[in-house]
């Protein structure tokens, strides 16, 4: 098992922007739409290189989602770009009817998800988006953990037929997934082998889970860390195989406890392998302004809280 180290510090959204540019060069059917956040979504390079395939829609997300659905009729693969909040709750009915129910091949790419959006505060810190999106039949839901994984996932979803919600974030965070890792939709990544507790982590909390596992090892607890990057369809096999070995679980995510990764993992386990589970998630509250790292600590989403949750889960076995 590889020892994951920090390659560099980068934002996940830049991984999206880089891959989108690459897709522009390799697939003439890839088009992009943005609702007045081109710089924030790192879509400028694509917009500059392919002005005929880039559509600035203004601050009109509902129209953007409908247009994306329409662009598939004619064979195009539209990537929409705006903040996660405006990619989901703002346009849930448009996504539901014109995209998901209509089985349109639209890639909804969402930045600035979660508390780590930081100072802008709760209006923009969506913590409900994965729950909403995973409830839509046929919708694939992915939350990437670093620059490299976001880049790899962006390339992968272009090849997938069907609607996808790709969630990433704003801040610069450790980039540790090797550049040549293969991203397979729906296939979890084993990051650390362990025997006492399974930590299933998604998004920015994957790095925190790795740090937690290092500390737990020092304290005599062998934690297995699995990166569930695709919350739907979830990798049931990877979850069950790990839990058969460890017998207890911690889930870690930058999302409400209701509707997130924890719910999805619990559902898999409740059906066939019920074990103690502890959740590292936002506990039914809205966010607030602050620095990303301050918020993760204040809302109980950092390595220290993952360690505490792991101990609690192990003690309940």
């Amino acid at each position: 098992m590889k020892n994951f180290e920090i390659i560099n510090i980068k934002d996940t959204r830049s991984g999206f922007g880089e891959a989108l540019l690459e897709l522009g060069k390799t697939d003439p059917k890839v088009v992009a739409l943005c609702a007045d956040l081109t710089g924030s979504l790192k879509m400028d390079a694509f917009a500059d290189a392919f002005p005929d395939r880039f559509f600035q829609v203004g601050i009109a997300e509902a129209n953007m989602m409908g247009m994306a659905a329409g662009l598939t009729i004619g064979g195009y693969i539209p990537f929409t770009g705006t903040f996660a909040n405006f990619s989901t709750s703002r346009v849930y009915d448009q996504v539901r009817q014109s995209i998901a129910y209509s089985k349109k091949n639209v890639k909804i790419c969402a930045s600035h998800a979660g508390l780590t959006l930081g100072e802008d505060g709760a209006t923009h810190q969506t913590l409900e988006d994965m729950g909403m999106m995973k409830m839509l039949p046929g919708m694939t839901v992915i939350n990437t953990c670093d620059f490299n994984q976001t880049r790899q996932a962006t390339l992968a979803i272009a090849k997938h037929q069907g609607p996808v919600y790709l969630r990433f974030g704003r801040p610069k965070v450790p980039n540790f997934i090797p550049e040549d890792f293969e991203f397979t939709i729906g296939k979890a990544l084993h990051l650390v082998e362990g025997t006492d507790v399974s930590i299933f982590a998604i998004g920015h909390l994957v790095w925190h889970a790795l740090e937690a596992a290092k500390e737990l090892k020092k304290q005599g607890i062998s934690a297995e860390v699995i990166n569930i990057h695709t919350i739907k369809p979830i990798d049931e096999k990877a979850i069950l195989e790990s839990v058969e070995k460890t017998g207890c679980v911690v889930t870690a995510e930058e999302h409400q406890i209701h509707g997130g990764l924890g719910d999805s993992v619990a559902q898999v386990l409740a059906r066939s392998l019920p074990v103690p589970i502890d959740y590292v998630a936002v506990m039914d509250r809205f966010g607030e302004s602050g620095k990303p790292e301050e918020l993760l600590e204040a809302y109980g989403l950092d390595a220290a809280h993952i360690i505490a949750a792991a101990k609690k889960a192990v003690n309940r076995k």
Partner: protein
């Protein structure tokens, strides 16, 4: 026989289909469907350059029609079936379990002729702009048609789409508003007055035409003119006056038949007013 007379005969059969489908399902939306029967007949039997027997989702080199106000699905389904998209006999499955003819149109069941789900209002113009943009990218010079209801114009998304279409010169789009001046809770002038639609759409950059949607000659003339106005860096919208319930006297002049099915006696009375010109399904 002159073209318009022939189309009027088809429209009569489509109206029979609407009444029979909604009666049979004991639910559905006859009022708006009857009002738009003449437009649908003109589109599907005369105006659209399309290939009903070889339906393809992408519709390359074909005109594409989107129904945004999906609740008038009876007139849409009848027109699709009668023009050859699927067997006419399937109209008898409308709104029943295991049918491709859902209450509101969907692509989920793979019904030929339907390219996007509609029902939740206000979304069709955005989808149409996307499809029109795809046509431009594909260097496909065929057109996109989109029908909306006037009540539907209450939805904000319509105006997001209108800003885009005008600003970005989506000139291969012909939008049509069914201006029957009625919505569920009553006359549009009471529920949410729309003001001057012509000046509103002109302000958004549209070329605005008007027609009587229950006059076949006017429909053919106006849509032909609309087609001649495409490619001139302006989206086009036709404000189409119709009478909700047109063709069935007791359904006309009221919003009460927006979403109500006729009973046996009313159905008999309605069908007596509508000539069976093709065979009933």
């Amino acid at each position: 026989m002159p073209k318009a007379d022939e189309l009027k005969k088809i429209a009569s059969q489509i109206r029979r289909d609407i009444v029979r489908m909604v009666h049979d399902a004991a639910s559905g939306h006859p009022g708006g469907s009857l009002g738009c029967a003449d437009l649908f007949t003109a589109l599907f039997f005369e105006i659209l350059d399309h290939d009903p027997t070889n339906f393809d989702m992408n519709g390359i080199d074909q005109d594409i029609f989107f129904l945004s106000n999906g609740h008038i699905s009876p007139v849409f389904y009848s027109s699709l079936a009668r023009s050859g998209y699927f067997p006419v006999s399937e109209l008898g499955t409308f709104r029943k379990i295991d049918s491709r003819l859902q209450g509101h149109p969907t692509t989920m069941e793979g019904l030929p002729g339907v390219r996007v789900a509609s029902g939740s209002l206000g979304q069709g113009m955005s989808v149409s702009i996307g499809a029109a943009t795809a046509k431009k990218l594909n260097k496909d010079d065929k057109l996109i048609f989109c029908l909306m209801g006037d009540g539907e114009l209450n939805e904000g998304q319509v105006w997001e789409a209108a800003i885009y279409a005008g600003a970005k010169k989506v000139d291969n789009l012909i939008a049509i508003v069914d201006h029957n001046q009625k919505q569920i809770d009553g006359p549009t002038d009471e529920v949410m007055p729309l003001g001057n639609l012509r000046t509103k759409f002109e302000a958004f950059g549209f070329k605005v035409l008007e027609m009587d949607g229950n006059d076949m000659d006017d429909i053919l003339k106006t849509v032909t003119r609309a087609k001649s106005e495409t490619g001139k860096e302006q989206p086009i919208i036709i404000i189409m006056k119709t009478e909700m319930g047109m063709g069935v006297d007791f359904m006309m002049g009221t919003h009460k038949w927006h979403g109500v099915a006729p009973n046996d006696e009313q159905t008999e009375k309605a069908l007596a007013q509508l000539e069976e010109t093709l065979r009933d399904y």
